[in-house]
Amino acid sequence: MCGWFWTRVRGCSEAPRHEQEHRAKSGRDGAASAWGARAFAFLVAVLLGSTLSASAAGPAVILATTTSTQDTGLLDVLVPAFERASGYQVKTIAVGTGAALAMGERGDADVLLVHAPSAEEAYMAKGRGLARWLVMHNGFIIVGPAGDPAKVAGVGNAVDAFKRIAASGATFISRGDDSGTNSKELEIWRAVGITPQGAWYVKTGSGMADTLHVASQKAAYTLTDDGTFLSQRATLSLVPVLQGVPDLLNVYHVILVKPLPGRVGNLAGGRAFADYVVSPTGQRVIATFGQDKYGRPLFTPDAKPVH
């Protein structure tokens, strides 16, 4: 019992325990409260520091975007570059395109970076966007197990590829989360003319990277954006079976949300972000992203105003 710790705390001796406690009592309470005060001060400092440093950089902009821009790491480069250039601070919320558009509709985000053109047009038609610009594209690809049991490789377009997968009985993994990739996938199924359902059609309800891992584990086919696939490839046992065909184009737009009257919002910050990603500087960041890590860029910049 008389280790250094106890010696310091209560002055260890061989006296009976209750007596020892009596003697040490006042000193010990003092020590305990000093420690408590120090711990509390540290805590307050940490919390204040984190909230203050968050607010010191300027008013925050809420960017609602898709999981693919976060999972590929593009935002890790693009957002800090914008923050340095503009002084705004960005709060990035990575959800599916459907959820991002819903956030914009409620006024819970200032600017959106999304990739489901038909859903975006419906959004703009509701009058919830002030402007929409084309930012960049990459391709969707159909990936599957190495043996390609459904014999998809070599067909000329995504619709025929999906037909073969459905006919072969191979498992297909769907995002099932109303994301841009999911809406693209459902668009292809509509063109095929079937409503996918049954044991072979699995909905994960997860982001792209998670869905790829499920497909990999189940030796199944799935539709993915090629950026996420490229960034995940090392951990997957999937191969691309169809890519580079016209009906697999994956287009990203930035939408400036129209603020709702009487609500908190940051229109100027949202506009600054949209302007930045379509500016020559922002487009250059996009054009070079991924070059060092994957040997080729993950996205092709192609900014021009749409609305």
């Binding site: 209560r10 805590l43 940490v46 999972d71 890790d76 409620r106 995940q232």
Partner: protein, 209 residues
């Protein structure tokens, strides 16, 4: 990494401290109070043991969305919002275990001390010392729940790099990106934090014995 870990500890510790006010106040009332209403609170505490963090996260996020009733405060996606959600998650667990800790003390002890003519202040201090180890264990359980939960942290914090990214949400992101070794790193730090917290509590409990 250091920033993510310190934010994890800071937010969860702050949540536990704030929860302590409600949990201990509630527990003292439940154990020593007279009103029958105190059993309602006990039921609430016990029911709250099974409160899913993701439900609390959704409720807090819903409240603080810009389109929500308190949206004008603009605190969603800040550590403050995360702390609030974790406080709600921690309070029932902390309170419920604190009730058990308080009840574990011999109920006649108070009367005995009074009968012996011990002054009120000393009496209170002796009782506090008697219950402190149990209360500390309750606090530790609460802190553990807060620091380990991911649903509420994700929904109220948004996992924003450098601002609201904590160990659990960072782990989810790393898994999502297929960076499994990074994810294991975060998990190891999380386990390390809990080990240190448990060890510190153990030392404190020994001192109080």
């Amino acid at each position: 990494m250091l920033q993510i870990a310190s934010l994890s500890v800071g937010v969860s510790l702050a949540a536990t401290l704030v929860a302590a006010v409600f949990a201990l106040g509630g527990a003292l009332w439940i154990v020593y109070g007279r009103s029958r209403l105190r059993y309602v609170l006990l039921v609430i505490f016990n029911a709250g043991l099974g409160l899913p963090p993701v439900a609390v996260g959704l409720a807090v996020a819903f409240t603080f969305w810009r389109s929500g009733p308190l949206g004008m405060l603009d605190i969603l996606y800040t550590p403050a919002a995360m702390m609030l959600a974790q406080t709600i998650i921690v309070t029932p667990l902390f309170g419920s275990l604190a009730v058990i800790a308080l009840r574990a003390v011999d109920p006649t002890l108070r009367d005995q001390l009074a009968a012996l003519g011990v002054p009120a202040r000393t009496r209170l201090r002796l009782l506090a010392r008697e219950t402190a180890p149990g209360i500390l264990a309750s606090a530790l359980a609460g802190f553990g729940r807060a620091v380990a939960e991911v649903g509420a942290a994700q929904m109220t914090g948004g996992n924003i790099e450098g601002q609201t990214r904590v160990l659990t949400t960072a782990t989810m992101l790393a898994v999502g990106r297929g960076e499994f070794s990074v994810a294991f790193g975060y998990v190891a730090v999380l386990l390390g934090i809990m080990t240190i917290a448990t060890g510190a509590a153990f030392v404190l409990q020994r001192r109080w014995q």
